[in-house]
Symmetry: C4
Subunit: 288 residues, 4 copies
């Protein structure tokens, strides 16, 4: 058990925050930079939501991982450093938050490198990566390995960590899922259209607690993805606190930063290996 | 009563799983094969969700029916066989998961035959069919009869089995409905857009339990449609278990494979017969 | 009080069923006539949902109003008559279910007349009208008055009956609202897209009960609009029964057919009169 | 404490009503003026919802702020005056309800001025402004200051009041948020499409109460935005009453008009100042 990725816990919880700020909106169209209301909606994340979340994590003494686009780290110079200094992990979340599937391989690589340069400039050591919108390309895992990172957290091929073999070596995958993301529960903007109905924190809590309980039953990785501009709002922060308090009370949930889980996973001799590759598709079968 | 399709039960429950894997996404566009994240989301179904569901059915000793697209059976050679060996039924779910309404009659027939050939190659005897997206054409029931299958499960003309008369003979229809499908409750992807809000397992359970109770009152076929990539997730699998445990506790719900219900229906002298045909539509009344 | 439209009740409840069958789908495109699955989904309404609802109304001894498109009455010759014979009202719901706002004034008139002819042929006396999709034009109320009907039930200008003055005389308006419609709670089809998430009957019941209680407080018309293809499903029919049982238990809710409420309203000397007319819009203010 | 914007309360609640009537629909397209049903849906707001809300506020003795588009004040001459006479505040909500982000700077200014002229004509003194759809431009705050208003309530950069510095002087920002708006919970129209599922008042109450409790914890501005055509409906008005009664019972929530909170904020020496400006966006990074 001591060599296994879960270290004997019923479930391992990685609390992750994607500090996207303006980037997902600008990735839809740079024209939204003209929208003062929309930009203020996004700026709330780093300006108000993030400090509130950092305080909450302090109070509960839970370590977390913050995925930060390079553009955000660059435009708010002290931000990434302040997260590290509070004992948390900062990880690579692209430069621009444009999804890899929307870019050429060359552009994806350039975007990937540009974020690495920002973190190097700021003396932030990053160990892992998460693709924008979780829309990884088949090249993404290889880039992660090639540039010496140890894990990715964008794929959905399992609900436990797995090893991904690439031409540049192995990395750990810490899989995500839409049901463990606050975006689908809380996001709303009229332009660009980024969501539909706004759910109550009570409903989100019910959903995530159900998944946590299921994951405790099946010994999985509860890889929760929150966004400060969404879950940093007062009522939602209170619901997140209740979720974390519940997890702590369970007594069998282990909280860890992604890099620590990744290291444990890569050291686990029983970890399954996957070699994700694109399905070969016959245009006669799928003509569109 | 012993000759009736329900064998005296208040409701008959057919637990069905559509093992679609990548096919519904590729049917939207083969370009999605380039999306590693999206493909991993779909591969979760056969790789993780399906084994979990098979174990759950073992534990509860409930027989089920798995509708498998030919493409999926072909690309994962042992999959269909392993389902049959666990005591369940494998049935025809098209080859490509392209809906019949989007194809010419010739293409629908070719797709239908190609799936039959895959199952014949794998020595899987199929007795029934379900159209992709439940979007049957008026030819679909006839194809089912012509190729010697005994039932279809795609239409919504009733909430009890009925006989469909075709030029190639009669088949049983085991009707479905969107309210008994996990897709509308749980599915989400940003690209392609396959859903909206993600509901909590508690809400889905409430919905399906209400329908089950209603169907016990009205003596109907509770034909539940689950997808391993959706309902195989930990919290949802636990909710499915609770639903099944509830149904078992009711004491008046009979679980059966679709083929067994179809055989009982076809042997029921009181089963109503329908002859579905396209409404004749006047272009002056409906100009669009 | 005895002369007022509500006859002293805290709220008056008009239970209405729009027996649309295939028409709302064909109004989107006649091409959907090729979709066997979709057509079966709509046929369920008159074939299965309607008889179930009629039985439920018998059991509870509640009179209701059924708005039937002329096309439906024509294609299912005994349908309208059988509703009347069970003690309920049949009313005008257009011929084709194409919304007036999508037609020229001449086409709206022709469609209106064609439905009247169908009901005349079937010896069904209709006293009121409801526009398809509730998308009345400014001409609609006038057509209603001109052809001798006594009420319309398509507008949302109040939550109590009101008098509408037209060049052809006065009619009563029995206003509707989206929150008292089962479509927004239950409707789903992938093609055409007619809804989003499918709600549980429990949620719909909560919503309608809240509105009923609010309307009892404010003395309003609880004008509930159900569709047999939606609310005729087993779990939903059971929820509708619970709602009706609750209303009956309240003791201060009066159930009536629309025509009876309309007659009481027109005889109420205190009924407010409205003269709906199109706002004059300056293209400089609203250039689009 | 006595100098702080919150005057010692745990949370300050500004109850705001956007009396939009037909304007948000006409802003989508003036063609909707032809839709009698849709226009009646909007007219319900000023005609039925508004008087009901004013009565409710009287009963609970709570002061509120009503944001009225100039077009609405002009087309319903007594409306704004009657609100003021009941002890509430009327504020600037554009002339046409076209969002600033959809206009040229010149058009935004002209629209802004035209609304001021309407209020001046009606002898209504306005102290604050809210952008249509909350879609402020970067010029909006400056217009507010330039024309001598003291606050804006359109941005989302915080959940407490803040000072916005413009070239024309400082104003207070009373920030809003989509989660405190009834539109996302209740709005529905088929054309134009303005919403998705209709939530029950119970759910909206749960959501807003969670935010209120969160805001009491974090000492925030609970700036609730209601629309009479939505929240004036009977069941929703009852839910709003329950929310307000809850807030009153808390004992630590201070209700105030926006102008009073703005004045307190501008007099608060500890109020943070922001200088919102458009992010500089590199077209190489965001090519779309």
């Amino acid at each position: 058990m001591s060599e296994s990725w879960h270290r004997g816990a019923a479930a391992v919880a990685t609390l992750t925050f994607d500090v996207d700020a303006e980037t997902p909106i600008l990735a839809r169209s740079r024209g939204y930079a003209r929208h003062a209301g929309t930009m203020s909606h996004q700026a709330y994340g780093p300006d108000v939501g993030l400090p509130r979340i950092l305080d909450l994590l302090d109070e509960l003494d839970i370590p977390a991982t913050f995925f930060v686009p390079g553009w955000v780290a660059e435009h708010r110079p002290g931000l990434a450093r302040s997260i590290v200094e509070r004992g948390h992990e900062v990880a690579h979340h692209s430069y621009s938050h444009r999804p890899p599937t929307s870019m050429t391989p060359e552009d994806e690589r350039a975007d990937f490198e540009r974020a690495l340069a920002v973190f190097a400039d700021q003396d932030i050591e990053v160990a892992g990566h998460r693709a924008a919108l979780w829309e990884a390309s088949w090249q993404t895992a290889e880039l992660v390995a090639e540039y010496g990172l140890r894990y990715d957290s964008s794929l959905m091929g399992d609900d436990r960590p797995y090893r991904v073999a690439t031409a540049s070596g192995d990395i750990a995958e810490l899989p995500v899922h839409w049901s463990l993301d606050d975006w689908e529960q809380y996001a709303f903007l009229p332009a660009p259209d980024i969501g539909s109905v706004i759910e109550s924190p009570e409903k989100a809590l019910e959903l995530w607690r159900a998944e946590l309980d299921g994951m405790r039953h099946y010994r999985c990785l509860f890889n929760l993805c929150m966004h400060p501009f969404l879950s940093g709002r007062p009522g939602r922060a209170m619901a997140l606190r209740r979720l974390l308090e519940y997890a702590l009370e369970c007594g069998d949930v282990r909280f860890a930063r992604c890099r620590d889980v990744a290291d444990a996973a890569l050291a686990d001799p029983g970890l399954p290996t996957r070699r994700p590759q694109a399905p070969v598709v016959d245009p006669d079968v799928y003509p569109v």
